[in-house]
Amino acid sequence: MIRPSRKIGLIGYFGYENIGDDVMLANMKRMVGEENYVLVRPNESLLGALRKLWGCSAIVVCGGAVIRRTNAAYLKVMVAAKLLCVKRIYYSIEISAWPVGRLGRIQKFVMRNASVFVRDLGSFLIAERALGVGKGTMVVDLFYFDDAMFAQTAGRESHSYGRITLGPGDGKRKLVVLPRTKFNSPNYSEQMNERRILDAIRKRREREIFDEVLLSPSAANDDVGSLSARLHGEGIGYVVADFDAPIALAYGDVVITNRLHIFKAVCLHDVDCVLVSYDPKTEWPEVIGERGEIVSLAGDTLDIADVRIPPSVLAERIALSKKALINAISG
């Protein structure tokens, strides 16, 4: 565990049922200790950020697609950190494109002399182009650090990630659909995403028989009304789960989702899963598992065997990543 002399600021979308951010926070808390961190809200005002960061030695941006062409998340907070000379650490971030215009220049300003850790080669190359050679460092997603996630399915234990529980199951064969229906990006179209999800559902139903098709929002702000209407129109029987209702997935059920971390979690536990990519950030998944498919933005279907990283390589990278983060915070 790191014992910082002052507190560590942590910023991310915690508590929004975003598995990736929540799991990363759990790991960060374990790393820095429960008493040693300060949570900073993503939409914190400049003054609020200055107040919270006053007593911090570092601030860690906890993963995710924080830099896109039209959006650079947490910018006010990071500007505050730069003004206060607080160490800035971008950990396990994705950069799908560098922001244009003034936003891009401000982003460069705050990232200069920051520790920038990216989680995929695409982000690395973009960071290199924008910030200069040698400014980006590769790490794995902290998601993998949670010991529970490495529990093998042989034990058939249950594991929960937010409201999703993976376990032995109730004997019914379910097709669970967890779409993301809202995403602010010029590349994203709700109709196109629905069409791709429906294609995936059709293909799976052609292959096997399910006792139940369960449709559920993957986050609180998702609205599955349109998708459920289309399923109804195609004569596909389904059940809609409320967002607050826990979803139990059995080993052996099939999941169709847009969400990268749901895909990672279920693949890890040997649940067959289809990731329907909706953004470049979901096109470079780090994943462990034997069963799964990825439908890329271009429409190609890749098997998980084609993209997964060998376990020995991943284990080495996890060790490297952990070392890199500890060195960045305490160095």
Binding site: G134, M138, E316, A319
Partner: protein
């Protein structure tokens, strides 16, 4: 020379994990590589720029496959000179995306007729010294040898080459980069599987014993008898053949006695080299290293990669 114990749980004896020899250009990377290739069953593939080309292709298209690489191969390996080999991929590999399994590049090299007796590839591209962190990430089990040589000798040697720049300042700036990149590697991932090899000690038994030990502990097989490594890739480069023969006896081609000014410069160079190596290993930054770090930052802006 040092090597940290790696705390990873990966397979460090993978026969496909390549060996990288990096460092400032003209630091003895070729002679060191040939020294190893004479003694061990390793496929010696000098200065292919494979990593640079791979990254360039991925920057253009993240889904670039090995078929695309095969098509570009002429650009990768030719460099305007004849190369006696080409990299071929299996039909299954051709459709794989390069970003998912970059080690397949080295696997393919081992399938070339020329290298079938090698059980791993030793890739000697000095410029990879500017990317050691990425190398460590892409190939976590790989062994990296960083060649370090007296900066004065490095600059003098670069000025003697027909293809290099004669600008001493530029050469000095470019020389610093790999050292600070190696320091960044030490700061982020640590120096596991990484060794600093001093050119001036290439004839030193202790240093070479550590090098050989590191190779053998990773499953590299010594040859039954040492072989000659023909530097035929450098077809117009007689110096390489001569240099290689002298490597065991002598550490410099410069047989002329050094004048007082040259001796002084070499002393200063040796001091700079030691300070840089110490900075890489321990992070200690005296006034000299701080000055060099500032010069390095300016150099990166003035002469971007």
């Amino acid at each position: 020379m040092e090597e940290e114990t790696n705390t990873g749980t990966g397979d460090a004896t993978s026969s496909l994990a390549p060996v990288f020899v990096v460092g400032p250009a003209r630091s003895g990377t070729t002679v060191f590589t040939h020294t190893l290739a004479r003694k061990y069953t390793i496929a010696c593939v000098p200065e292919t720029n494979l990593i640079a080309v791979l990254l360039k292709m991925l920057a253009r298209s993240k889904d670039a496959t090995f078929a695309d690489f095969e098509a570009k191969q002429r650009d990768v390996l030719m460099h305007g000179q004849n190369r006696p080999y080409s990299i071929l991929f299996t039909p299954e590999m051709r459709t794989r995306r390069m970003r998912d399994c970059p080690d397949a590049l080295f696997e393919a090299i081992l399938r070339c007729d020329r290298y079938t007796e090698g059980d791993r590839v030793i890739e000697q591209t000095p410029r990879n010294g500017e990317r050691v962190r990425l190398l460590r990430w892409m190939f976590p089990s790989s062994l990296v040898f960083f060649m370090s040589r007296n900066p004065v000798d490095v600059i003098a040697s670069n000025r003697r080459t027909p293809w290099g720049t004669r600008n001493r300042l530029k050469l000095f700036l470019v020389l610093l980069r790999p050292y600070f990149e190696l320091r960044e590697l030490a700061r982020t991932y640590g120096l596991g599987h990484t060794m600093i090899v001093e050119y001036e000690k290439l004839a030193d038994v202790a240093q070479m014993a550590e090098v050989f030990g590191a190779l053998e502990s990773r499953g590299t097989t010594p040859r039954e008898a040492e072989i000659d490594i023909e530097p035929i890739n450098y077809s117009n480069n007689d110096w390489a053949r001569d240099h290689f023969r002298k490597a065991g006896d002598r550490l410099s081609l410069d047989h002329k006695p050094l004048g007082p000014q040259q001796r002084l410069l070499r002393c200063i160079g040796a001091h700079v080299q030691l300070r840089l190596i110490d900075h890489v290993r321990t992070g200690r930054s005296g006034p000299l290293v701080l000055l060099l770090s500032a010069i390095n930052s300016l150099g990166n802006k003035a002469f971007p990669r």
